[in-house]
Symmetry: C2
Subunit: 330 residues, 2 copies
DNA sequence: CTGAAAGCGCTTACAG
DNA sequence: CTGAAAGCGCTTACAG
């Protein structure tokens, strides 16, 4: 490995001067600069970022920590997109991303702390204790997507879940639906809860009485969860004519179940999802859904974190707008 | 930050002794050990892995570098699964994974080298020069999935593309199909090429003459690529009765196109894909496809890399078996 | 503008 | 078994 010592020797100046030139700090003569840069290039010098980080206390590495009951979360299309976009945004700003997605986040915690990351992006279902762990170690944290306990003093970026669902329900009401089923995700998820509040608000504004029997909870919000929930809803005493599913996976599961019972979508039952994962436009019938911008989520999470790394201590709550995408399932 | 110096002071021994005890090397008395461990715990000591890495020349970090014309590749379901599984496998063995997926890999190269990674997993379309760059810098590399130029002296893990396709074509022939279309991926991809060879071999063994007009190349192997290819194939002079698509995305695209022309799958045209991404079982008709084991790919890539990090210099070519999954599209 | 020196937090021979 | 010392490759005051 070539070091500044080698460069110093070959260019006839001291290590200090080489260091100053290569890190572009302090002062040096043009003459020295030329010599040093030339030698560095010839030797194909690459600074040792570990040594640098030891002194500057900055690794330029960010941890992306995924946490949820779905495992592994990275390969989940929703989160995969966020990770992808975060990697892109971080790269553009000179940071690299280390990914953690242990089955039990508690296992990774020690490891993550020892990696000397400049900051952490925490995605998925975020637990208060985990956040506190990082804060106690003075590691800046930004939260993404879902929050179990929302009262952190930490920046976070989420979708406007309330409004997204509110719009979707209004749209179903506009279509003339009077009874609308709601497939809820895990009970302790703030995101699903906010969607649920949007649902209630929309009903309330149209003076439609809320009936708890149209709300089904699913701990695991995937295809099967959607199928199970749909089964319950269509066998209800007075089944709804439309269903809002908490996410696209459950929406597709619901459609599958409904079709398998010989019913038509949207003829017998209209379905709306949430997320607009890539697959939703490909599936048949294509899914009416609330689009969330995962690319933006990843980018803003990185941007908020870097703000903190640059010394800001403002706590920002970023709520990204959603958009209702109307397709064939309604 | 608590350092070994603090521990030394508080437990009344030297830094050297503390270091030996904490890194469990060299010799020390039981008495010292107890004192030191107690103090370390009380102070909530976390070793500085940067300092350690500087001396041991080992960061316990692995780079996962994704490279392809599809961008970002991490969010592609096929690769997302490989990354997810690699992260899991690495974690279990005490390594962390840093993800790189620049639009232009050349941009990241310098950065990757400076991050002092112990080794690299290169996934996607791998370019010879990239591999040589790493080798020149003495960074162990394992290749995953696709290889543009196969003559590396590097371990790599791929699917048995030839056999997977061979089986699929045989199965179509068994169903009575005499003319089978083939949707090829990018021309310079070894994986697609191997599938193509499997196709030709299967035809040959049944003495069916090969006809180039049934082979369509697609540079971007996605839904649209599949639609375009299918369009060409069904408007051919004597259209095939079945199509093997180079991957599931193109297969689904092909089905969409065929259905949109008012034709039936599999009635008018049978379709087989390759990969068995999650979506293939959900789509309707569900897709007959060649299943690849992405979880295993990620795990074995990590395992092969760690072998090298542990000093092995054997070059292993790991070809993972595939399995034909028969569903509704044939 | 420049170089010697100290130091980041650790590991590793080495002498006792 | 133990401690002093050197060193990993860099940065950063500081004195000249």
């Amino acid at each position: 490995m070539v070091t500044i010592k080698d460069i110093a020797r070959l260019s006839g100046v001291s290590k200090s001067t080489v260091a100053r030139i290569l890190s572009n700090s302090g002062s040096y003569s043009n003459e020295s600069k030329e010599k040093v840069l030339k030698v560095a290039k010839e030797l194909n010098y690459k600074p040792n970022t570990l040594a640098r980080a030891m002194i500057t206390k900055k690794t330029n590495n960010i941890g992306f920590v995924l946490h949820s009951r779905i495992h592994p979360l990275i390969s989940h299309p929703f989160f995969a997109s966020i990770v992808a976009s975060a990697v892109g945004a971080a790269t553009r700003q000179g940071y690299s991303i280390m990914v953690f997605n242990d089955k039990d986040i508690q296992n990774s915690l020690e490891n993550i702390q020892q990696k000397k990351l400049d900051g952490i992006i925490l995605a998925g279902y975020v637990d208060k204790r985990i956040v506190q762990e990082f804060k106690a170690n003075d590691i800046p944290v930004v939260l993404v997507n879902d929050l179990i306990d929302i009262k952190f003093e930490t920046s976070y970026v989420i979708n406007d879940d309330f409004d997204g669902c509110f719009q979707a329900i209004n749209y179903l009401l506009d279509l003339g639906h009077k009874t609308i089923g709601f497939i809820h995700g895990p009970k302790d998820s703030q995101s699903y809860h906010a969607r649920f509040l949007g649902y209630r608000e929309a009903l309330k504004l149209r003076q439609i009485e809320y009936d708890g029997k149209y709300v089904v909870f699913q701990d695991v919000p995937n295809i099967e969860g959607g199928m199970n929930a749909a089964k319950q809803l269509i066998t209800a005493e007075k089944p709804p004519t439309a269903i809002f599913a908490g996410n696209d996976m459950m929406a597709i599961g619901a459609i599958k179940e409904i079709k398998s019972q010989g019913l038509q979508v949207p003829g017998d039952m209209a379905i709306v999802g949430f997320d607009d994962i890539e697959f939703s436009s490909i599936y048949e019938p294509s899914l009416t859904t609330v689009r969330t911008d995962r690319k933006l989520m990843g980018e803003i999470a990185v941007q908020e974190l870097i703000k903190q790394l640059d010394g800001s201590d403002e706590v920002n709550v970023i709520k990204l707008p959603t958009e209702l995408i109307i397709r064939e399932s309604t």
